[in-house]
Every structure is written in C-alpha cells, then in structure tokens.
C-alpha cells in the first residue's frame, strides 16, 4: 500500500468537511476524485499534502506517518499541482522548474549536475523544453499548467496530487495533460491522485475513482462501479444516462434532455456530433 488514510476527520471553521474518511491507494494507481462542489475534494487533497492537518486520523505515505515528517521531507515524496497559480514574479520557465529541486538541495550548494538533469527531464516529459527561456507569465494557460506539473515532477515525488488540473483548459490541452498523467502512472510507477470535475474525463483516464459526497466516500472502485446512475443520482441529485464509450468501452455519462424533444429541434441546434438523436426518454435506459 502506498498511501493510506485512516479515519480522517477534517474541520474547517467549526464545520466538519471530511467525516471519518478511510482510503487506500496502491503505488502506480491513477485515482480520480470526483464529486460535487463542497463535497470535500480539495480538502482531501490538502489533507494528504499536509497543508491542512486532520483533527483525527492519520495519513500514511509508504508506511510513514505524514504528520511526523518535516516539511522538506514531505516535499521529497509528494508533489502538488494546484488548480491555478497566483500571479508569479518574473521567473523564466526553467527557473520555475528549478525551484522544484528545493526539497533535495542543501543550503549553500549551487545547482548540481543531478539537479540540472532532473529539471531537463521534467521539462522534456511535459513538452516544455522549447519554452525554457520564456517568462512564465507570458505563457498560455495550458503551457503554464504543464510547467507547474514539470515543477512538481522535478521534486521527484512518488505521489502527485492535482487539483482540477484541466478545468480551465481547452480540450486539446486537457487530453495532453491527462494522457501525460496516465503515462507517468502506468509506465513509471508514479502514483497520481487527481480531483477531476468532469466525470467523463475521470472515467476515460483514471484506473480508479472515488466519489465524494458530503465529506464521505459514497462510492469507490473502477469506473463502471462508481459511475452508475444510482450513485450519481444520490450524490449529484440528477438523472443521467451511462453508456459504454464507443472507442474505449469505459462508462460515458450523458445528460439526457429534460422534457420531450423532437429530433428536428436537436438536429437544428447541435448540427451533428451525436451518434443518434436523443429522442428517447430516460426511463427504460440504463447503463452497461
């Protein structure tokens, strides 16, 4: 077991946000955390990264109690990619990624050869090498996100935590980044835990999902086990249609139209892209 969370309770301003949460993640897993806003997804990430210490319960990483490690030690094992980066001073891309080596550096030494190699590898894996001389502030959202991931990778972590890494990106960037993450976890044994807003992206790229609702894990397991209309109805309070994805076979969550719709209306509006006109009602259709 790589990451273990035992009975963790986290409160924020007097209100319990995570209630007695227990979770185990294996090394090399790509775990997606889904759930509605306010269900505690970000709080869970921040508890794992130790920014928010739990009231009760423990977090174990590789068998070590996270609460007992120094800040630097935690940073050697764990990299975090936040949702967005606040305004940053005039660092170049390379400088930004180099900052990720801090947990491994002694105080007075200059960048070692190893540091430079790791930085270079991180830039290369994220496709940022051509950007290295540019100023971070001048990059597009997608490019900046890749650089942040590169910086987290430069920490040489065993576990990578991401908070909605693609929510503000175009679909091409979404695909690139999620493929990168899947690659890193599948081929290099990096454990990836990512909060994902989009259920279908989670289904497509992650090995395992947990669905949070109200500070508790409402469902956990592989995508088909978690993304069921019943689960989604109880957590999101909405009716959905779940069908197998045409190409991957993974569950695809669809929002059915509410109320009767004629094919003429939808054809005019959408202009293609549907496999078949969504003229049938929800009742009578279930996933699998």
């Amino acid at each position: 077991m790589h990451l273990q969370i035992h009975g963790v309770v986290v409160s924020y301003q007097g209100k319990e946000v995570l209630k007695n949460l227990t979770l185990e993640v294996r090394r090399g897993d790509f775990l997606a955390i889904v759930g509605p806003n306010g269900s505690g997804k970000t709080t869970l990430l921040r508890t794992i990264s130790r920014v928010l210490p739990p009231e009760r319960g423990t977090v174990f990483l590789g068998g070590k109690d996270l609460a007992r490690l120094s800040q630097k030690e935690v940073a050697r094992h764990l990299g975090v990619v936040p949702q967005n980066q606040t305004a940053v001073p005039d660092f170049t891309v390379e400088e930004m990624v180099r900052l990720g080596r801090f947990p491994h550096q002694r105080r007075w030494q200059r960048e070692s050869r190893r540091d430079e190699e790791v930085v270079r590898a991180a830039l290369e894996v994220t496709g940022c090498l051509p950007l290295r001389e540019r100023f971070f502030n001048e990059l597009s959202g997608g490019e900046q996100q890749r650089v942040i991931i590169a910086r987290a990778l430069a920490q040489e972590p065993e576990l990578l935590l991401l908070d909605e890494p693609t929510s503000h990106l175009d679909i091409n960037y979404q695909q690139e980044i999620l493929e990168l993450l899947r690659d890193l976890s599948a081929r290099r044994g990096l454990t990836v835990i990512s909060v994902l807003h989009d259920l279908n992206l989670a289904s497509h790229f992650a090995d395992r999902l947990i669905m949070l609702g109200n500070g508790q894990i409402q469902a956990a397991g592989d995508p088909w086990a978690v993304l069921t209309p019943d689960n989604i109805r109880s957590v999101y309070q909405t009716e959905v249609l779940v069908v197998p994805h045409l190409l991957t076979g993974r569950p695809l969550v669809l929002l059915p139209p509410r109320g009767p719709v004629t094919s003429a209306e939808t054809a005019g509006k959408a202009g293609g892209g549907y496999a078949e006109p969504p003229a049938r009602r929800v009742a009578g259709l279930r996933g699998r």
Binding site: V88, E95, Q105, A121, E176, R188
Partner: protein
C-alpha cells in the same frame, strides 16, 4: 524509502502529443546577468567611496587620500613618508571615513531589509519600515531629545539608543498584535504595523506640540542624515548590519519560493511560518539599527531592490547581494551630495533620497502593464 522504487524521469521518452508551440524566443529579456552586475557594483562602490573621501571643504587630492589610507595598513604603510598635513589625516580618518562607511553600511542594510520585506509580503511597494519601525524609532528619539536625555552612554548618545529601543518595542508589539497563535498572517501583520505606527506618530506629534522649542532638532533627526556621525555610530550598526544581512541572505532560496505563494511554498518544503517570523524580525532589527544611527532615510529600501529586481530578476541569491552593493552605493552618493551641494550647509540625506522617489513612482506608473514583482 528505497531510491530505486522512485519513479524515474529519464527524459528519453519524447512527448509527441503536444502541438507545436510558438517561438521559443521571449518578447523581453532580462537585462543583466547576476555575476557581472555584482562585480560592476562592487567596483563602482569602491571607486565612489574613494572619490567621496576626497570631497569636502578641504579638498584632498586622490593620491594623498590613498596614501593616508594605506599608511595605516600594517605592512604596506611604511613605504610612504608622511608628507601631508596632519589635519588631512584627521579629516580622512576621523571625519570622512567613518561617515562614508556608515553611509554604505546603512544603505546596504536598508536595501537588503527592503528586498526581504518585498519578498515576504510579495509586494514591490514594501519597504523596511513597513512594520512601523520608523514611527517607533521616531517616538523614541523625539522623547530623548525633548526630555533632554542627552548624555553619553558607552560613548553613544542617548538619542540613537532611545530610537533603537523604541524600534525594538515596536517590532515586539506588532508581532504580538499581528499573530494568531503561532501563525503570522501577512495581512494582519500589515494592519498591526499601520495601527501601531499611526499611534506612535500621533504621540510624537503630540510631544512636539508641547515641546515646540525642540521642533527643529527633532525634525532634523527625523529627516535623516550622517552629519556628525563617527566611529561609534558605525561600530554600533556594524554587527546588526552584517549579521542582519547575512541572516537574510541565508534564506535566499526560501524567499524565492515564498514569492510563489504561501501554499505553494509549503508544498515545496518551506516552513513558511518559521521563515517569515525570523525574516521579519531580522529585517526590522536591521532597519531599526540603521534608523538609530542616522534617522529615517526613506526610499533606499524601496527603490534599490525594486530597480535591481528589474535588472537581475527575482532570484534572491543575486538580488540580495546586488541590493546590498546598490544600496550602499546609492546612499553614499546621496550623502556625498548632501554635504557637498550647498557648502557649508548640509542637506538632510532623507531629502535627497526623497527627490529620487517622485520620478521613481512616475516611472512605475508608466510601466503599468508590468505586473507582479
């Protein structure tokens, strides 16, 4: 944790999924590289110092100045016969040299403290007095002047001492007010600093209302200056200046990371609270010691680090030493101008530095699309 079990990045895998990006060339470049700038500043500083020593009511030629200086060195000194008037020797050694050295020391301390504040508060408009150091020192000094506590204490008059103690009290007060438990949230600190600062300024003004005869003397002390400062002042500030700057430089990397935001710095392994606490205290004390010696000299701690950051970038491992050298140079030039512009009157140094303040802020206004630090 077994190192081999860590996911390795070997970089051999090419990333083909990403589309081609735009040109790799940036629209703007950093103007100067770190090491050459440091060398340039160091040389300029030495040159300026030497030149400053020659200037004054008694103009002493350069060679003579150099000889006078070298004469005191243990080995080399013997080679020059004493061929200059003794009063020149006194002027150089007892009047000008301590003043020049003090100006450099104070300038560098203020600039480094300012850079630290700007980094900690992630705000390019922060200066070393941001926690109200100056207001407290002002009250301390004014009280000393006004209550006629003008005696010698270890060769140091009470005014600087009172100013320094005032600042210490200030930092302590703001720290206590600004913290929640062991945390030091930045916003609260600022507010505490402003609150205490205003209060003390008000007290100072009140004091001056009642003791208006001393207004003149207090005013001149407040404006800041180096006239009449000697070796005792220099030696008093020296430990704080050197240790303070050294301590701040010790945290260069942490300062770099703090610029990214509190949570990011935490995630990267910085003990944000501890570093912030230590840096604030050290920077404030360094500023306080400077104020004690030479009054409240504004703008050095604000302008110098800010401009240098535009030149060398935000990496504090270069920015801090560059600020030290640049600050020393700037204040040295300002002080030299202060004492030579309208002889024999001395313009307060604070006035000269303030003159640079206005164009600086205008320049900032014009560059408004430049965002962040």
């Amino acid at each position: 944790m077994n190192p081999e079990s860590r996911p390795q990045l070997d970089g051999k895998e090419k990333w083909h999924h990403f589309q081609k990006d735009d040109s790799a060339v940036s629209s703007r470049r950093r103007l100067v590289k770190g090491p050459p700038l440091l060398v340039f500043l160091a040389l300029s500083l030495v040159g300026a110092a030497l030149y400053a020593l020659t200037l004054g009511p008694a103009a002493i030629p350069v060679e003579e100045t150099v000889h006078i200086l070298l004469e005191r060195l243990p080995l080399v000194g013997r080679y020059w016969a004493q061929s200059w008037p003794t009063n020149h020797q006194v002027i150089i050694w007892d009047l000008r040299l301590p003043r020049v050295l003090l100006a450099i020391l104070v300038g560098s301390s203020l600039a480094v403290a300012g850079a630290a504040m700007q980094g900690l508060f992630r705000n390019p408009l922060a200066d070393p007095y941001i926690l109200g150091v100056s207001a407290r020192a002002a009250l301390g000094a004014s009280s000393a002047i006004v209550f006629k506590l003008n005696f010698q204490f270890f060769g140091l008059s009470t005014v600087p001492l009172a100013a320094f103690l005032g600042s210490l009290l200030a930092v302590f007060l703001v720290y206590q007010l600004g913290r929640t438990g062991t945390l030091l949230p930045v916003g609260t600190l600022l507010l505490a600093g402003v609150a205490v600062g205003s209060f003390f300024s008000a007290l100072t003004s009140l004091l001056l209302v009642f003791f208006s005869d001393d207004l003149h003397q207090v005013f001149f002390w407040l404006l800041g200056g180096f006239s009449g400062r000697g070796w005792t002042h220099f030696l008093m500030v020296l430990p704080y200046g050197l240790l303070g700057q050294g301590a701040i430089y010790y945290y260069s990397r942490e300062l770099n990371l703090t610029l990214l935001g509190e949570e990011t710095a935490l995630n990267l392994g910085v003990e944000v609270e501890k570093v912030r606490r230590q840096l604030l205290v050290v920077a404030s004390l360094t500023a306080a010691a400077s104020v004690a010696a030479s009054g409240i000299i504004g703008f050095v701690g604000l302008i110098v680090p800010h401009l240098l950051r535009l030149l060398v970038g935000p990496d504090h491992r270069f920015l801090l030493p560059a600020s030290a050298l640049g600050g020393g140079l700037f204040l040295l030039l300002a002080d030299t101008a202060a004492r030579t512009l309208i002889p024999p009157t001395e313009i307060p140094v604070g006035t000269i530095t303030a003159f640079f303040g206005a164009p600086f802020f205008l320049y900032l206004l014009r560059r408004r699309r430049y965002s962040g630090l």
